[in-house]
Symmetry: C2
Subunit: 193 residues, 2 copies
């Protein structure tokens, strides 16, 4: 079987985004990153920076509830989610693409042509990788990783009612720190083709 869409759910610092980019290059697929944010901005009317920050994470203070108890209206998070969902469904329909994060695995779960992948890694490896990529900062790196993943997990749980680290949500789960980024790309390439 071959797949025209690949979704990649990943831990922060695991290299999931790098794997997605390399895989897209190898397969000649579209990799949506900044373009995805732009499309969601057009669809939703939200600012790109807002989408980048809250399009797959719960904010530190929890979900927004600017609409108070006005149950008839969607809150901001839900509005953003449904815009993302619409854009992701359209991109999948176009085919030959790789989509990172944003519950795409769940949104596309009924598409037979979609391969759902989870990438995770050992904490020490993620810490080293982040320092190498972004340099040292004043913020404690482990705390930042845990906080980031906690917010992604909460977002995923809220919109999918699933635990994001459960193997059965995906067709393939790979530990990038053990296997290496390039081996992960090779494995996925062999499956997609």
């Amino acid at each position: 079987m071959s797949y025209s869409v690949v979704t990649i759910t990943r831990e922060f610092g695991s290299g999931g985004r790098t794997i997605a980019k390399k895989l897209a290059e190898e397969l000649g697929y579209d990799y949506y990153d900044y373009e995805l944010v732009q499309k969601i901005a057009q669809e939703s009317g939200f600012a790109e920076g807002f989408i980048e920050e809250f399009g797959e994470e719960v904010s530190t203070g929890g979900f927004f509830s600017f609409f108070g108890n006005n149950w008839g209206a969607l809150n901001i998070n839900d509005q953003l989610y449904f815009s993302e969902r619409k854009v992701i469904l359209e991109l999948a329909e176009k085919g030959n693409c790789i989509i990172v994060g944003r519950c795409a695995d769940y949104i596309l779960k009924d598409r037979k042509d979609t391969l759902n992948v989870f990438i995770y890694a050992d904490m020490e490896w993620k810490k080293d990788r982040i320092v190498n990529l972004y340099g040292e900062t004043d913020v404690d790196i482990e705390k930042r990783i845990l906080e980031k993943d906690k917010r992604r997990k909460a977002y995923y749980k809220y919109y999918t009612d699933r635990k994001w680290n459960r193997a059965a949500n995906y067709h393939v789960s790979l530990e990038s720190s053990e296997l290496g980024i390039d081996t992960c790309v090779e494995i996925l390439k062999s499956i997609v083709k």
Copy 2:
């Protein structure tokens, strides 16, 4: 990196055992099945049938507690587990082998030469597979699968304090019903080599 030991944790009916056998053939590794039971029998003094039935599952009535409140003595389950653990550590030391189930991933977690794999599958696929392999029975197949996995999960949780379907316990998790048995074998072969 190459691996001299592969552990395969699997859902009942997922084909994990078949994948293990084929992978062993392809790699020229030892695959321990009946021989593992025999070794554990020699080590523990328990009957082979007992080991096959309770060596990786909680019994339907829960863990055995024939020793009552004699806290100084190991209960039967713990005795069996520690015999299995000893045999598995010895086999891993010998190397070039594949071990299915029995918490081997956890027992060997500190060995750098060990690849830990989880195999799971879609329920309808597992049901069809079991009927094809063993024929129809009076017992409801889905109930049998759920019960079997429930007992394996409880056993795994008890001895490892981990959830067996959590991707991060393993280096690779594969959905056999989606990818196919042969593709799973090919992926694992490419990683081990």
